[in-house]
């Protein structure tokens, strides 16, 4: 009754340029710890083996240290690991894998499926049919070979491949590394473990994408998961269970602020968001000085709580109310300037509008500081 962990797309060596340095480093670090968590999960779930469906590494030329750390992180699970080269870490003549071997970093229980064929794990009653990428991109279905591959009697046939299941993407897109949707049936597989899709996705009862164990984009849904697959015997339906492995939730919100309550609602959601998360906000609409102050306050709080909080306010025009202006003591032509800047923000020209917003923010800041100091002086 083989039971194994299906994971993929570790993307070790990924850098996050959009974040501040320390955030980027922490996020990269989370990818290593994800492997440790997977190992623990395999142990906890009493898995017989771990199958990794490609893109273990994000690039061929990652540092030696990164390579060693990957294999070190696998130490928590002493059963067999079957690692498949994906499009990011294809088994080229010289590849991250050949380097790993040269570095003597590969432990005995890690099987590198660098060539198409069967990795037989007799002890675990598993025959893993591997379709590694040996070029960066192929346009033929590498799993076709599975149809012809024979495996020993009594072993569960599990396919391990990396690519795009055809028909899944929009028509007309000539995706690289295609995989036939009915490969599991065609090749009499008990299970086809796929990688490349970063969110968990079931194609059919025997074909799954596990997704990446640690999210690394805002776009993929259902990332940060690993699958535990149990197959009673050859030919039996696989039983697949999801297990969350992600450390950080990646949240991206695009919000339109029109009235004060919109802002209230947003701020409430932000404060309720479970930590630690990676947050990306893109706001548009209108906000007055008080709203802006509240927003900045909330963002400041969120920044301290989450891994990263980014907020794009370029679409959010700052519109001080008359009361605001009065409070700022913006008499005479200062008032006129504020009025002008308010108008400029609704300009067609996006960058002009943004510049005006910034200009108004600067002016109000200066004015608030002035009123602040006068208030202090008067008090």
């Amino acid at each position: 009754m083989p039971r194994f962990l299906h994971t993929a797309d570790w993307q070790i060596g990924r850098y996050y340029s959009r974040f501040e340095n320390d955030d980027g480093v922490a996020l990269a670090e989370a990818r290593f710890t994800a492997i440790e968590r997977l190992a623990r999960l395999a142990v906890d779930e009493r898995c017989d083996a771990v199958l990794v469906a490609g893109d273990v590494f994000d690039a061929q030329t990652v540092s030696d240290r990164a390579i060693r750390r990957v294999f070190n992180a696998m130490a928590g699970f002493s059963g067999p690991w079957v690692l498949l080269p994906g499009n990011h870490d294809a088994a080229l003549a010289e590849s991250v894998w050949t380097r790993a071997r040269r570095l003597n970093a590969v432990p005995d229980n890690a099987h590198l499926a660098l060539e198409p064929g069967v990795v037989e794990l007799r002890q675990q009653s598993l025959a893993v049919l591997a379709a590694p990428l040996t070029q960066r991109h192929t346009h033929s279905d590498l799993t076709e070979g599975f149809d012809e591959l024979e495996t020993a009697e009594g072993l569960v046939r599990v396919g391990l491949a990396h690519g795009s299941v055809q028909g899944l993407l929009a028509e007309g897109i000539d995706s690289a590394n295609p995989i036939a949707a009915d490969r599991a049936v065609q090749a009499r597989l008990d299970y086809l473990a796929l990688g490349d899709w970063h969110g968990v996705k079931q194609i059919n009862s025997r074909t799954w994408y596990s997704g990446t164990p640690e999210a690394e984009r805002f776009r993929n849904n259902d990332a940060g998961v690993a699958l535990v697959v149990e197959i009673a015997s050859p030919g039996a339906e696989p039983v697949v269970t999801r297990h969350a492995t992600g450390q950080y939730a990646w949240v991206q919100w695009k919000e339109q602020i029109s009235v004060a309550t919109d802002l209230d609602e947003l701020l409430a959601r932000l404060s309720e968001l479970s930590a630690p998360a990676v947050v990306d906000l893109k706001l548009s609409g209108v906000v007055d000085l008080a709203g802006e102050r509240r927003l900045l306050q909330a963002l400041s709080v969120a920044e301290a709580k989450h891994r990263s909080v980014q907020c794009d306010r370029s679409g959010l025009s700052l519109q001080p109310t008359d009361d605001d202006i009065a409070a700022l003591n913006a008499d005479g032509y200062l008032g006129e300037v504020i009025a002008d800047l308010r108008e400029l923000q609704v300009s067609e020209d996006q960058s002009r509008a943004q510049t005006s917003r910034e200009a108004l923010a600067i002016l109000t800041t200066v004015l608030m500081e002035r009123t602040g100091t006068t208030e202090e002086a008067s008090s």
Partner: protein, 881 residues
């Protein structure tokens, strides 16, 4: 504000109180000469307002030399419909009292109230300076400073602004300028004055570029790396395939096959060579045999030739013999002719000899005759010569002695003359026939005797007379005479002559002979220069020669025939000799030819005979037949060989041995190249492997990602700063625009007042006012159009006029804003010409309708037509007003 009354006391030259009252609410003209106290009045007014009454810096107010004085100023004026009364005392018992509409103030409170009213500040310490004077500083013009409006307006700026603000309501911004300053300083952090990035902003821009290029180069390296990986894969695959297939071995096999084939052909070629040699030998042999055949044929031909030759030899000999006699005869004839010619020559020579001898003989005969003639003559001369010479030697006369005799004769004569002179003269004349003896000498007739010695005269008949001459030296003369006579006579004796005449005769003869001798000698020399003997010998010699010649002549044989000249005879002989020589030669040649012909004939006969014998030999016929046979056989063999060789050659050619050689080379090279290439690939593979290993260890893509992240951060930060810079730019621009617009609004009323006055001076002119309300550009109409220029560029007089106009405009503005105005002009417009001054008077008169003006001057005549009564300070002082 209208001052109604001014009183001063103990102030500078006004030690006594001076009161100026009933001041007009409009124009007041106060005049007085220099130092009459006009400026002191102005100073007093200034002190009343600007100087703290406690100030110790107002010593200038004190009258000269009066240290106890307490300068006092008292002012009464109306403003804001309230009466003000101010009294201020300085230096001593300092006080300040102010009464406003029944309310009393004193001290600093009073002073501050005034400052507030008029708009000025007090100096924090020391005397009040123009920078504190504010509005009054602008409206109260000191002597000679009317043209300088700039500073005055600057010092009054705040007061003017606030007046304007109150005039226009709350349009100005309370903190606007401050905000602008802050925005400017924020902008300056990012941008330079010219709008170029600076500081972090600039640095980020550069960093962004350098990172981008770094990233690009890294990308380049990565793509190179990937290309190398691809190459490695390709290479490895090929290498493995070659390792399996070993294509060089196939090539090598082909090479060996080609070599085997080549060896086979080589064998053929060797056989061919051998057979070709045999063919060549056979052909050579055939050639020799044919030659022999040809030689046999040639021998037969030769015999014929020899026979012909023999015949020719015989012919030649016969013809030579035929010509033999002819040749001999010719030679004999030539011999004879030659002999003839020779005898002719001999005869001619004898003839010539004889003619020569005859000629010689004739010549000798002639010479001989000449010589004989000369000889005869010479002998005659010689005889004569010898006779003369003998005569000369017989009776020679000594010419020297003769000379001596002549001298003695002369002396004797002279002495006799001298004795006659002193002698006693005895003259006698005797009768005819009578004689006398004198000194023994008988005398007759008449004569004289000179008596030197005692002479006895015998008178015949009579006796003797002895006469003794007198005189002392008569005796010595007598003696000398006697001595000379003796010498003379001895000389005659030695000469062997009786008289000197005889001697002379003899000398003449002797000279004649000597001359004769010389002539003879000359003649002889010409005839016989070498002597007569020589001549005789010559004669003898010639005679001998003649005899010899005659003998020779006789020896010559007699000839009769004329043989002609020797030369022609000899020429004939020479020709004859030549002919003889030729004839000899011909004869000789002929015999030689004949001999040779005989010899030839013999040889020809012999050769002919020999060849004939030879050909007629019987063995030779057999030989010729055998030769014929041999030639036939060899020809057949050659044909056989020829066929075999050409057959084999075509076989060799068909096999294309050159191509086979090329194949060998090609297969050999291919095999080698393939194997080498394989080895090289193996090397490249290892090299590539190690290169990739080392590059892989650098973690290029990880570096790339890291760099990209850094670049992204820099870009983001740069964008933020850029955004901020643009925002600040926009904001600052807006603020400045607004402020300027505001200033323009504020300037409008001032502009209005300015143009009001300016129009009087320059119709249609405008005077611009800058942000600080200071007049700047003047635009006025000139005949050419418009003229623009700064106020500073105008003449002093015009600047003063503009200054005054501006001040009046400010006064109007202030009044409009409800501020008190008072205008004090101390000797102003002194630099204006009459025309301008007239216009300025109109301006002043107009202004005085709204403001009180105190005008002090020392030129009252300039201001006569101002429409006010001038007040003379002198009169006021004396209280006569």
């Amino acid at each position: 504000m209208k001052i109604q009354r001014l009183r001063i006391e103990q102030l500078r030259q006004f030690r006594q109180p001076l009161t100026l009252d009933d001041l007009d609410p409009g124009l007041n003209l106060i005049h007085g000469p220099n130092e009459s106290g006009k400026s002191t009045l102005v100073r007093a007014i200034r002190a009343a307002f600007f100087e703290r009454h406690r100030s110790s810096s107002v010593d200038d107010l004190r009258p000269w030399g009066d240290s106890s004085a307490a300068p006092t100023v008292e002012l009464e004026f109306v403003t804001g419909e309230r009466s003000w009364h101010l009294k201020k005392r300085f230096l001593q018992q300092k006080r300040c009292d102010l009464e406003v509409g029944g309310e009393a103030f004193s001290g600093e409170e009073a002073e501050d109230k005034l400052a507030d009213l008029l708009g000025f500040q007090f100096a924090s310490r020391g005397a009040s300076q123009d920078k504190h004077w504010g509005i009054p500083g602008l409206l109260w013009v000191e002597q000679g400073s009317g043209q300088n409006i700039h500073d005055a307006v600057a010092y009054a700026g705040d007061h003017l602004q606030s007046a304007l603000n109150s005039l226009l309501g709350e349009v100005a911004s309370s903190g606007g300028d401050d905000v602008i300053l802050q925005i400017q300083s924020q902008r300056a952090e990012l941008l330079t004055a010219t709008g170029k990035p600076r500081g972090d902003y600039a640095r980020l821009g550069e960093e962004q570029h350098s990172l981008a290029s770094e990233l690009e180069s890294l990308e380049e390296r990565i793509s190179q790396y990937q290309a190398l990986v691809d190459r490695l894969g390709e290479l490895r695959q090929r290498h493995q395939q070659n390792e399996r297939e070993r294509p060089w071995e196939a090539a090598r096999q082909k090479f060996q096959e080609a070599e085997r084939r080549s060896r086979e052909i080589e064998q053929w070629q060797q056989e061919q060579q051998r057979e070709q040699q045999a063919l060549r030998d056979c052909q050579e042999n055939l050639k020799l045999l044919r030659q022999q055949q040809q030689q046999a044929e040639a021998a037969t031909n030769k015999l014929e030739t020899r026979a012909q030759h023999l015949k020719a030899c015989q012919g030649a000999l016969e013809s030579l013999r035929a010509r033999e006699n002819q040749t001999a005869e010719a030679q004999a004839a030539a011999q004879k002719a030659y002999e003839n010619a020779r005898s002719q020559v001999r005869v001619a020579k004898e003839q010539e000899q004889r003619a020569r001898l005859e000629n010689d003989l004739r010549q000798v005969q002639q010479q001989l005759e000449g010589v004989e003639q000369n000889l005869t003559q010479a002998r005659h001369y010689l005889t004569e010569l010898q006779a003369t010479r003998q005569q000369l030697q017989v009776n020679p006369i000594d010419l020297k002695a003769l000379e001596n005799l002549r001298a003695l004769h002369r002396q004797l004569e002279e002495e006799r003359i001298r004795s006659h002179a002193i002698a006693t003269r005895l003259h006698y004349r005797l009768e005819e026939g009578e004689t006398l003896s004198v000194g023994g000498e008988t005398v007759e007739g008449e004569g004289d005797r000179l008596l030197l010695a005692e002479t006895a005269v015998l008178l015949p008949g009579l006796g003797q007379l002895t006469i003794t001459p007198g005189g002392d030296d008569l005796a010595s003369v007598q003696r000398r005479l006697e001595r000379l006579q003796e010498n003379y006579e001895s000389q005659l004796r030695s000469l062997n002559v009786a008289s000197p005449e005889q001697a002379e005769q003899m000398a003449a003869e002797q000279a004649q002979r000597t001359q004769n001798l010389q002539r003879l000698e000359g003649l002889l020399a010409s005839l016989a220069p070498r002597g007569v003997e020589t001549l005789a010998a010559q004669q003898q010699e010639l005679d001998n020669r003649r005899q010899q010649l005659q003998a020779e002549q006789q020896a010559l044989p007699e000839t009769s025939a004329d043989a002609g000249t020797v030369a022609s005879a000899e020429a004939t002989q020479e020709i004859a000799e030549q002919r003889l020589r030729e004839a000899d030669l011909q004869l000789q040649e002929h015999s030689k030819q004949q001999y040779a012909a005989v010899q030839n004939l013999a040889n020809a006969e012999k050769e002919w005979q020999q060849l004939k014998d030879e050909l007629e030999n019987s063995g030779r016929q057999a030989e010729l037949r055998a030769l014929q046979q041999s030639v036939m056989e060899t020809g057949e063999r050659e044909a056989r060989l020829n066929q075999s060789v050409s057959e084999r050659q075509s076989r060799i050619d068909d096999a294309r041995p050159q191509l086979i050689q090329q194949d060998i080379e090609r297969y050999r090279a291919s095999a080698e190249q393939l194997e080498k290439g394989h080895q090289k690939e193996a090397l490249e593979l290892t090299g590539l492997q190690s290169k990739l290993e080392s590059q892989g260890a650098e973690g290029l893509e990880e570096q790339r990602d890291e760099l990209a992240a850094r670049l992204e951060h820099v870009r983001r930060r740069y964008r933020e700063l850029h955004q901020r810079a643009e925002a600040l730019d926009l904001l600052l621009g807006l603020l400045q625009d607004k402020r300027q617009a505001l200033t323009r609004r504020l300037q409008a009323p001032l502009q209005k007042h300015l143009n009001h006055y300016l129009g009087v001076l320059f119709p249609k002119a405008t005077l611009d006012v800058d942000d600080n309300l200071i007049p700047g550009q003047l635009t006025r109409a000139v005949p050419q159009g418009q003229e623009r220029g700064s106020l500073q560029e105008l003449s002093f007089g015009a600047r003063e006029q503009m200054g005054l106009i501006s001040r009046l405009a400010y006064a109007d503005l202030l009044q409009e804003a409800g501020r008190p105005t008072l205008i004090i002009l101390d000797d102003t417009l002194v630099h204006s010409d009459k025309q301008r001054l007239d216009q300025m008077k109109r301006v002043l008169f107009d202004a005085a309708r709204r403001h009180q003006i105190l005008l002090f001057t020392c030129h009252p005549e300039n201001w006569r037509d101002l429409g006010v009564a001038p007040r003379d300070l002198q009169t006021i002082k004396t209280g006569n007003e």
